[in-house]
């Protein structure tokens, strides 16, 4: 179990060695239009394999900025960011695209399914751009999120919760070491939130690393650890430790 592994690694130095995500003095500054905004300020922390981390913080605190970098969609302006041992700064944009497809499975708040492809084809699309399509695997992935019987349906024929499950099936299909979820239940009602929460629990139990942005305390409570952001500053909570509430 992940917790068993992580609780034994309570020193930053030892964590760094088995970290799938490691940030060292990472900053992200947006410049332009005569002003500069430091959206992320000197962040140093790491996330180890199998960990479930919730990123919380008020609006404008830098959550998306952080997640963009963890998802290899953006790069730090200072500091080093290593994902699965590779330094992002050393990669060309094309290499970064490839790396992202390999390492990150995205779960979006708005699901982002292609409207003209069926549930099955949406999952296969991730295979297509990653390597090659395999219908059997794609079906298995849909079965896993309980959507096997809706494989031929278009996104418009699915409920929000069902679309999110397809999105999760798509995120899982290429076996990425990291699942990145941005407000995965932000657009869902209670019942569907529960289904998705259970799915994430299940994935965590089977060893997936999950990084999740959420406003919802209930969802955040499911994670092992919270990374709270405030004005671009990172506050890491110790693994399994008490949750400190931040001043807003």
């Amino acid at each position: 179990m992940a917790e068993v592994v992580t609780t034994s690694l309570n020193e930053n130095q030892t964590r760094a060695e088995c970290a799938v995500i490691a940030l060292e003095h990472v900053s992200r500054e947006y410049t332009g239009r005569g002003a500069s905004v430091r959206a992320l300020d000197d962040a140093t922390f790491s996330i180890v394999a199998g960990e479930w981390v919730a990123i919380t913080g008020p609006s404008g605190s830098g959550k998306s900025t952080l997640v963009n970098m963890l998802g290899c969609l953006d790069r730090p302006t200072a500091g080093t960011l290593k994902i699965d041992g590779a330094d992002l700064a050393a990669m060309s944009p094309t290499e970064l695209d490839r790396f992202r497809a390999d390492k990150i499975g995205f779960i979006f708040q708005q699901f982002h399914l292609i409207p003209y492809l069926s549930a099955l084809e949406n999952v296969m699309l991730a295979q297509y751009f990653h390597s090659m399509t395999d219908e059997k695997e794609a079906r298995a992935s849909l079965e896993r999120v309980g959507m096997g019987h809706r494989a031929q349906h278009l996104p418009s024929e699915l409920s929000g919760g069902e679309q999110q499950r397809v999105c999760i099936a798509r995120a899982l299909i290429n076996n990425p070491p990291i699942l990145l979820a941005d407000e995965p239940t932000g657009n869902l009602d209670q019942a569907n939130q529960k289904i998705v929460a259970n799915l994430l629990k299940d994935l965590h139990q089977t060893g997936h690393t999950i990084v999740m942005v959420t406003h919802d305390p209930e969802m955040a409570a499911l994670a092992q650890r919270k990374i709270a952001l405030s004005h671009g500053k990172v506050f890491c909570h110790p693994i399994g430790g008490p949750v400190v509430s931040l001043r807003r």
């Binding site: 998802g71 497809a101 699309l125």
Partner: protein, 361 residues
């Protein structure tokens, strides 16, 4: 089931029916108009020259009386393509004692050259005459049309009246054979019609003058010059039309394609996030564009050819057959329009940030 670039494009085109249709329509219109204009353009020269030919001869050869074998000489010098019609003239007196010009002609040859002449009926039998409608006023009895030339009286039967609006209306036309037997005079004027435009007429003039020294060879100036002016103007007009239409259609295709990318930027951003390369995105978008352009060319060519046929049928009374030769040209034009129109959206694609997906845009 397999998911390929082709099946993704097919799904996208079918799902976004109205967008695909409007792009296809723009492409079809451009291809159709280009096809119609190019098809007409290709046969325009022939058509216009043919049209001008109906106005009559473009060269007239005049010879002194009793020039032997005049018609044959002119025919030989004018070339096998040219039409010739010899005319022999004499002044006779009618039964009312009025002098009238009588012409001996080869009726089929005259009919071929002077296709605007309107005759009630063309004489075919011996001793039949075609009477100009003004000349008819000087005749008392047209059924036994008595004419006197140098004391020789000869009777003809009027086959009908001739209306040209010119001097011909005051003359009486009879066949060459009847004329020669009666007056013993041979042709002194040969009308020549050279097919083609001004350069061809100039060349024929030179040829005739060189081979027939001593004869008067003159072009029908007005006609030749007017003709080349009209042909040039029509060319310019058609060029302008093609250009203008290409531009208009280009703008509308640009708008359609831009909208097509804009409304799908989320989809493209997602594909990028899933590991789609710049090349794959471009291939997806450009292949779709090429597909629409090609489909537009296929339907546009058919419609344009039909339009060219109809236009030519109503305006020139001859059918313009579809020209497969214009197909590659139209395809090229449409692809060029599509490529120019696709440039902007393709740029938008290349700067697309998948990060926008996380912002929930």
């Amino acid at each position: 089931m397999k998911l390929t670039l082709g099946s993704i494009i097919r799904r996208s085109l079918i799902h976004r029916r109205s967008r695909s249709l409007s792009a296809l329509t723009a492409m079809t219109v451009s291809a159709g108009v280009a096809t119609a204009l190019l098809t007409l353009y290709a046969s325009l020269d022939t058509k216009l020259h043919k049209e001008f030919r109906s106005f009559g001869a473009n060269i007239v050869v005049t010879a002194p009386a009793n020039t032997p074998n005049l018609a044959e000489q002119v025919k030989k010098a004018a070339g096998p393509e040219a039409l010739t019609a010899p005319f022999a003239y004499a002044v006779a007196t009618t039964d009312r004692g009025t002098p009238v010009v009588v012409a001996g002609v080869d009726f089929p040859a005259v009919r071929a050259i002077d296709s605007t002449w309107q005759a009630d009926a063309w004489p075919t039998a011996p001793n039949a005459a075609l009477v100009g409608q003004k000349a008819a006023n000087f005749i008392a009895d047209e059924r036994t049309l008595a004419l006197t030339f140098a004391g020789q009286k000869q009777t003809f039967a009027s086959a009908g009246h001739l209306r040209t609006g010119g001097d011909e209306d005051s003359r009486i036309y009879i066949s060459q054979a009847d004329f020669a037997g009666w007056t013993h005079a041979s042709p002194t004027v040969v009308e020549v019609q050279i097919p083609g435009g001004a350069p061809q007429v100039e060349a024929a003039l030179g040829r005739l003058r060189a081979q027939l020294p001593g004869l008067e060879v003159e072009p029908v100036r007005q006609l030749v010059e007017g003709e080349s002016r009209i042909v040039d103007k029509t060319h310019a007009l058609m060029f302008g039309a093609v250009l203008l239409i290409a531009l208009t259609v280009g703008v509308s295709v640009l708008a359609t394609l831009s909208a097509s990318v804009l409304e799908r930027r989320r989809d493209f951003a997602l594909m990028k996030a899933l590991g789609g390369t710049q090349l794959q995105m471009m291939a997806l978008f450009l292949l779709e564009t090429v597909l629409l352009a090609s489909a537009g060319v296929a339907t546009g060519w058919l419609l344009g050819s039909a339009a060219a046929w109809a236009i030519s049928e109503t305006n020139f009374h001859t059918a313009t057959l579809p020209r497969p030769q214009v197909l590659p040209l139209v395809l090229l034009l449409n692809l060029a329009i599509a490529a120019m129109a696709a440039l902007l959206p393709a740029r938008a694609l290349s700067t697309l940030e998948p990060a926008s997906l996380l912002k929930g845009e």
